[in-house]
């Protein structure tokens, strides 16, 4: 009886905080086990989110231009934020509560918070001293057993810059790309916190970071071990997936008696609970990865960096795989040589899922500007893309690719009130976030220096609490 209650509680906790875990919190299979060896039991959510939204006030923003995040636009619009959720969004005729805090948005723009699907904040924090280098467990080409959340330093000043300058309300922290399988990623709410658990996005599924191409073969080839070539990359990946498939079969049959943390992650991918985020630059390699995913029965959520997605945009559209891209980074390495500034609009034009990402503590502060440059490149080619359509690259598409599209990423009633008020068109170089709400709580206000978070590291240092 007691055991049953405990199991039920664990399952409930797990469902609340781990979203995608189809089996609930405890994994156990009953049938056909040897008497001496009991199947392993484990909690799929051992480091649960403790994030709860901060106190909110009933808030109205009116007379504002709204990009709803799903491609819609409302001129002279209004929004009501209530108890952490979007209560209603509409035009000038929408009925508004009379007891709300009212923000006049005349001349301003309102969007869903920016979501960066590719960040290393916390894992490679500022200052970038050797002691802070926690993003690559570069001791083995496959480390699916490591979890990026165990490296996140919540005091990284980069989080507050992304909030105040970039309007970033959620972000995925990925392991680096030294390894073919770098480990689990974690999706965070961009709120200051004493602990990483206090930032974890409730209910977001885990991701698995994978990497193609130059990095893994360089890192391990230089150590005189496999992989040292692209074919070596695939051989190691395939052997590892083969092992994972066997592990999953044993798990499904209730025959796993010793936990294997690496295989647990990969089995999670094979069962669809954990989403694959694959660093991959070249088109030909992406095509091979797609076949590998079919060979072993998993799905790639998103190719990251993807500078050659424009060469296979039709294939990516057909396979339903997102591309997370920079606007114009190029030439820093061989596999980034064929980057074009029209990559993002060309992928969009092909009907494939299009995302603007940063992979950078600086560019995460202006992803809106990166999208603007890509948008301009598309329009210069004659493409008809509206501002509000381009905003899907910054919030709803990354939300969907992270498995949180039903909760955030667009301004629809009952979704999380993750909202940015910009002091002008966010696709202008002259525009900045004015206010940022996360789950309806105002976490940044350019007009109020007290609503400017200062990390522990910056306390007592030159420029503490300065505009940044």
């Amino acid at each position: 009886m007691i055991r049953g209650v405990k199991a039920g509680l664990l399952a409930a906790v797990s469902l609340a905080f781990a979203g995608c875990t189809a089996n609930g919190g405890e994994v156990e299979t009953a049938s056909s086990k040897p008497a001496a060896e009991k199947p392993v039991k484990f909690n799929k959510d051992p480091y649960p989110s403790t994030y709860k939204g901060y106190p909110t006030r009933l808030t109205v923003v009116r007379n504002v231009t709204i990009f709803d995040g799903e491609g819609g636009r409302i001129d002279n619009g209004s929004i009501v934020l209530s108890s952490g959720k979007v209560l209603s969004v509409g035009g000038p005729d929408m009925e508004l509560p009379t007891d709300a805090d009212v923000v006049d948005g005349t001349g301003k723009f309102l969007t869903p918070g920016v979501i960066d699907i590719h960040s290393h904040l916390g894992d490679y924090p500022s200052p970038s001293v050797e002691a802070h280098s926690d993003g690559n467990e570069a001791t083995s080409p496959t480390t699916p057993e490591v979890w990026s959340e165990h490296s996140v330093w919540p005091q990284d000043p980069g989080f507050s810059r992304a909030l105040a300058n970039g309007g970033v309300t959620s972000l995925q922290i990925l392991p680096g790309s030294a390894n073919l399988m770098g480990g689990r990623s974690i999706t965070l709410k961009n709120v200051p916190s004493r602990t990483v658990q206090g930032m974890k996005f409730p209910g977001a599924p885990y991701g698995l970071k994978m990497a193609c191409g130059e990095n893994p073969k360089r890192v391990y080839g230089s150590k005189g071990r496999m992989p040292s070539t692209r074919m070596g990359n695939f051989a190691v990946n395939r052997a590892t997936w083969q092992k994972a498939a066997a592990y999953k079969k044993k798990m499904d049959e209730g025959k796993v008696v010793d936990r294997d943390l690496a295989m647990e992650t990969l089995a999670g991918v094979l069962s669809g609970e954990i989403l694959v985020h694959n660093h991959c630059y070249r088109a030909d390699e992406m095509a091979l990865v797609i076949d590998m995913s079919k060979e072993f029965g998993y799905k790639v959520s998103t190719f990251h960096h993807a500078v050659e997605s424009y060469k296979i945009a039709d294939i990516l559209a057909k396979e339903g795989i997102c591309s997370a891209m920079w606007a114009d980074w190029w030439g820093f390495k061989m596999e980034a040589y064929d980057s074009v500034p029209e990559n993002i609009p060309l992928v969009y034009k092909a009907g494939a899922c299009t995302i603007v990402h940063s992979d950078d503590a600086n560019q995460i502060q202006r992803l809106n500007q990166e999208a603007a440059k890509a948008l301009a490149s598309g329009r210069r080619m004659g493409m008809q893309i509206s501002d509000e359509q381009a905003w899907t690259w910054l919030s709803y598409n990354p939300a969907k690719a992270l498995g949180i599209g039903d909760k955030t990423g667009s301004l629809k009633p009952s979704k999380m009130a993750d909202v940015v008020l910009w002091n002008g068109n966010p696709f202008s170089a002259y525009t900045r976030p004015e206010k940022v709400w996360i789950d309806g709580a105002m976490m940044y206000d350019a007009m109020n220096p007290k609503l400017r978070p200062v990390s522990d590291f910056e306390l007592g240092q030159p420029g503490e609490g300065d505009v940044k």
Partner: protein, 433 residues
């Protein structure tokens, strides 16, 4: 009119032509010296040089006329601090000539023969409106990195505008590591190398006497003599406020040094000292993270605060990508304009912001009489933009360098065009060009 249109079209699409005379009319004209844009302006270029620019400027008879149609016309962007031309693919070492960490030479290194005007980054940067660049070497095996150059980004075989235009040295953490591990070692090594060069200048035989104990090679001494006497500006990478003050003090012992500060992330903390020393600063203006312990005070308001204190501030692109994306200079300058609308922040107004990527860096390297603005006598580097040049996504529709119309086609354009439709046709993509 027909003739003007034809010529205009030719200027947009043609390969470089020899003509160096052109008049661009009906422009929203930016001179680049910090003055306000002039509606209905005209710029006249003859023999590759600007002869007149402003409102009511007469167009000489028989000269090629281009009607800008009211669009923005500016001097070409001057990349304030860069490695343009020194690298094709950063991570492919054979194509990367930034640094020479295994060289036995240092200050004497001269990047001129390493510059590759045929490299694809030249065309990409040019297509983003960059016509000139201040190029510095990365590092050597010793303290001084060597001699940089001022270059043009024209579609031709020679990009050197002025060789040996600067000497570069990194102070702070990087310089300390080079010098043996501490700032004390750095400042001593700096001083001893300059004193050795001075001794050599007075008596060249001294270098031979020192033999293998010599701190520098003869070629290095030659270069440092020109630093000591102020012939060659000394660009110093320095970020921490106290390091900046100590660098400024170097002028006490070497009064002719022509210092230019690069980075100066904490410059705003000692802005008045920098202003009093009349030392120009090149900033990467959006640096706002404490990336190291010498950048604790980093803020995007650095440029605005330095400017307000009277420091000549140039905006560069060098803490992220210093060879491929010089076009970011316009975006960064635009961001500084945006800061003027943010309570508590400091930025630059539009005119100052544009000058910070044209005439101000030209002045820092001592060349504002010849490049960086459309004042009479400067080189004919002119750009017509499709929109406000500091706004995101604006691009040139025409570029002249030394009065010659430039191609704006890049290798990236060719790739884009090949894959406008990604599916292969009757023949593979390799036949599509």
């Amino acid at each position: 009119m027909m003739r003007a249109l034809l010529l205009s079209a030719a200027a947009l699409i043609a390969a470089p032509v020899a003509a160096q005379d052109v008049a661009i009319t009906n422009a929203k004209l930016v001179i680049g010296d910090g003055s306000a844009p002039i509606e209905g302006g005209t710029v006249v270029v003859r023999g590759g040089k600007v002869v007149a620019a402003g409102a009511g400027v007469a167009v000489p008879a028989g000269i090629e006329r281009v009607d800008a149609g009211g669009r923005w016309v500016t001097p070409g962007i001057v990349a304030a601090f860069s490695r343009v031309g020194l690298t094709e693919v950063d991570a492919v070492s054979g194509t990367n000539d930034r640094s020479a960490n295994k060289s036995r030479f240092s200050a004497g290194l001269d990047i001129a023969p390493a510059l590759n005007p045929m490299g694809s980054p030249i065309a990409v940067n040019r297509a983003n409106g960059v016509t000139r660049a201040i190029v510095a070497p990365g590092s050597s095996g010793n303290l001084f990195a060597g001699q940089g150059a001022v270059v043009d980004l024209a579609d031709d075989n020679d990009m050197v505008t002025k060789p040996r235009a600067l000497q570069y040295v990194a102070f702070g953490e990087d310089g300390s590591a080079k010098a043996g591990g501490s700032r004390a070692a750095l400042f001593l090594l700096f001083r001893e190398q300059l004193l050795a060069a001075r001794s050599y200048a007075r008596n060249p035989a001294t270098l031979a006497e020192w033999g293998s104990d010599a701190l520098i090679q003869r070629a290095d001494a030659d270069a440092l003599v020109r630093v000591i006497d102020g012939t060659t500006p000394l660009f110093v990478r320095v970020d921490r406020a106290t390091d900046i003050l100590n660098v400024l003090k170097l002028k006490t012992e070497f009064p002719a040094l022509k210092l230019v500060l690069v980075g100066a992330t904490e410059g705003w903390l000692v802005a008045n000292d920098i202003a009093a020393a009349r030392v120009p600063v090149l900033v990467s203006p959006l640096t706002d993270l404490p990336g190291s312990f010498e950048q604790l005070g980093a803020t995007q308001s650095n440029a605005g605060r330095l400017f307000a204190a009277g420091v000549p501030v140039s905006v560069g692109v060098f803490d992220d990508d210093d060879a491929h994306k010089m076009g970011y200079a316009t975006q960064y300058a635009g961001n500084l304009v945006g800061l003027t609308r943010l309570p508590g922040a400091s930025g630059l107004n539009w005119d100052q912001a544009f000058a910070s990527i044209s005439s101000v860096p030209a002045r820092a390297v001592g060349m504002d009489a010849s490049i960086g603005s459309l004042r009479a006598g400067r080189v004919g580097d002119v750009v017509i933009w499709d929109n406000d040049p500091l706004e995101l996504g604006s691009r040139p529709t025409a570029v002249w360098i030394d009065g010659k119309a430039q191609s704006l086609v890049t290798r990236q354009d060719r790739l884009r065009d090949r894959y406008l439709t990604p599916q292969e046709g009757n023949l593979p993509k390799a036949y599509d060009r």
